[in-house]
């Protein structure tokens, strides 16, 4: 912080026409909060002062905005926005993905999604990823709380616990596919633990298979949540806790009335990521079980409708429905947890 002893508060912000001389260009980084946006008046006022410039800052600004945004926006429009509008258009046609003709069918595709239990019913399989995601957040939060308390070898624990997240997801799926084999490592482990009555066909039993798949997701992604919770815990001001302990608050009271409320926005963000991830589950069933009927998720069904049954119109409508559902679920979640997200 020592290097940043220049005036930073909004009060000291340079007034138009009277710039305050500050840190020279290229100085050490000074990360401090200041009011972010620069307005036009400032740059206009400078125009006269800086004689060495051939272009006025006003012209520069226009040129810069256009040239800096051109490529990023071109990419955004080309690869995200344009395909999205195409998607909407396709969803109202019966396009087969091949022929040059597009027949307008109105809302037929949308009606079909809700009428066909085989399509919409796949959300039942997404449910286990959803529950898995919630459990994953709870587990990660508990781990973060433990790691944040006074313990030995904290960094060693954290280092090991984070490993699953950085492994390649296809490799992880294969490792678990191996674990789940009939008489495989998991069954044998249960045997050793005297829990052989729990053995089952982990990928063959309909009642279990989606939980087996969701566990893979849990195993790979809990470290991500854990690290975020841990960072959030570490950033909570210590004096709060000191005050609480002076007041004689118990561990549970501190957790319930101080820690959790302060983590609310972080929990919300984590849940947001987990929930949209659950609704869009694709890779794990795709690689692990070839998205066979008991494991087909809404998104694998969508791809199947498009690429096996050549019904791009219907598949596009399914994509739009998925998008709407993601929006709805996230809104409900925001509403339930109350409050507004603080970050950006």
């Amino acid at each position: 912080m020592g290097a940043c002893d220049t005036p930073q508060s909004p009060m000291n912000r340079p007034q138009a026409g009277h710039p305050v001389r500050v840190q020279p260009v290229g100085g050490p980084p000074c990360i401090q909060r200041v009011s972010p946006v620069w307005d036009d008046t400032l740059s206009e006022a400078k125009e006269g002062d800086v004689v060495s410039l051939h272009w006025s800052y006003r012209t520069q600004k226009a040129v810069l905005i256009i040239s800096f945004l051109l490529i990023p926006l071109a990419l955004l429009v080309t690869f995200s926005i344009y395909p999205f509008f195409k998607l909407i258009y396709y969803s109202f046609t019966s396009w087969d993905g091949l022929s040059p003709t597009f027949t307008w069918v109105g809302f037929n595709n949308y009606v079909q999604i809700f009428k066909n239990p085989a399509l919409f019913g796949a959300f039942a399989h997404n449910f286990s990823y959803f529950v898995g995601g919630i459990v994953q957040n709870i587990f990660a939060l508990i781990l973060a709380l433990v790691l944040n308390s006074r313990i030995r070898a904290r960094n060693l624990f954290r280092t090991i616990l984070f490993v699953p997240y950085i492994l390649n997801s296809v490799a992880v799926v294969y490792i678990f596919k191996f674990m789940y084999l009939d008489n495989g490592a998991l069954d044998i482990l249960l045997n050793h633990l005297g829990l052989s009555h729990l053995e089952t066909s982990w990928l063959g039993n309909d009642a279990v298979v989606n939980w087996s798949l969701a566990f893979v997701s849990f195993w790979q992604y809990f470290p991500f949540n854990m690290v975020i919770y841990l960072a959030a815990l570490q950033s909570l001001p210590q004096d709060m806790y000191e005050a609480a302990s002076l007041d004689g608050a118990s561990r549970w009271q501190t957790l319930w009335f101080i820690t959790l409320p302060n983590l609310k926005s972080i929990i919300q963000i984590n849940l947001l990521l987990t929930v949209s991830g659950a609704l869009e589950a694709f890779n794990i069933p795709f690689v692990m079980t070839n998205a066979s009927p008991p494991t087909a998720t809404f998104l694998t069904n969508t791809m199947n409708v498009a690429f096996t049954f050549h019904n791009f119109g219907l598949a596009s409508a399914m994509a739009i429905v998925l998008l709407i559902i993601v929006f709805i679920v996230i809104s409900i979640q925001q509403w339930l947890l109350g409050g507004r997200r603080e970050a950006a």
Partner: protein, 278 residues
């Protein structure tokens, strides 16, 4: 006295929980390593939990050559380097413009980035595919680079958050010395955004390393395999030979683990920044 007893129980519970979690993480990895090192003979004769007394390193050679993993690493690495350079340049450019200037349509630009974040990208591939094809990039590494190049909403927000913390006074000082806006971007903003760029680079590297569907769709040629697709293809003909599949999986895991051990601090910071600033 009572309190100390309480604390001891609490400590025991904590460590038991931690050790249990660590075992949950390590057990599948141990199983994978142990079985990847078993010769065909050992694989049949030894129990699944046993570690072979004579590790069959030849499995790793077979996996490396049979899966064309060297080539896959090269492709993955090339794509990551090019895409990340592009992400950093384009992301900082967008953030500079959005973070430092007021102009009409600014909110629209920002809103567009937020909006596309919610589109499940897999589903728009049909339309995207046509574009990649028309650009003549299908089945080239450039298709991947270009798809990853566009800065995502998450990246933009990370940069915006950081750029707001760079004092505007720095820009102004530079202006006093006659620096152009571009010069300010290059000499003030870009260097000061380095921590954000590290975050962006880490998040994007993890994303690209893990992506399966896009390379599968856009680079079907065998010689254009990336780690995910190479592993997927390797699995087909070898799916009865678990020792080889696990060896290939471990090979693909190793560089990521090594990088992680060396760059741990940055990775944690990167992930936290990425999520919290979203």
């Amino acid at each position: 006295m009572k309190r100390a007893w309480h604390d001891t129980v609490w400590d025991v519970v904590k460590y038991v929980f931690l050790v249990f979690s660590v075992l949950c993480v390590l057990f599948p990895l141990y199983i994978a390593v142990a079985n990847s090192l078993k010769s065909d003979q050992d694989y049949i004769n030894l129990g699944i939990l046993q570690f072979p007394s004579h590790p069959a390193w030849s499995n790793y050679v077979t996996a490396w050559t049979g899966g064309a993993l060297g080539n896959a690493f090269f492709n993955t690495f090339t794509i990551i380097v090019l895409a990340v350079i592009g992400n950093v340049l384009l992301g900082t450019m967008v953030a500079y413009v959005l973070g430092r200037f007021e102009f009409p349509l600014k909110r629209l630009v920002l809103g567009a980035y937020v909006f596309v974040m919610f589109i499940p990208t897999i589903t728009t591939q049909v339309a995207t595919f046509g574009i990649v094809k028309n650009l003549g990039l299908f089945d080239t590494r450039w298709s991947m680079v270009l798809l990853y190049l566009g800065a995502s909403a998450v990246q933009i927000f990370i940069y915006l958050q950081f750029i707001r913390q760079i004092p505007v006074s720095l820009d102004e000082a530079a202006m006093l010395e006659g620096a152009s806006y571009f010069r300010i971007y290059r000499s003030v903003i870009l260097p000061l955004l380095t921590p954000a760029s590290v975050t962006v680079a880490i998040l994007q590297t993890i994303a690209i390393y893990n992506d399966l569907y896009s390379p599968y769709l856009y680079m079907p040629s065998v010689n254009l395999g990336v780690v995910s697709t190479a592993l997927l293809r390797f699995q087909g003909p070898y799916s009865a030979q678990w020792n080889l599949i696990l060896a290939a999986s471990i090979i693909i895991a190793i560089p990521a683990v090594l990088l992680y051990l060396f760059l741990q601090r940055y990775i944690f910071a990167g992930i936290v920044n990425g999520a919290v600033r979203e």
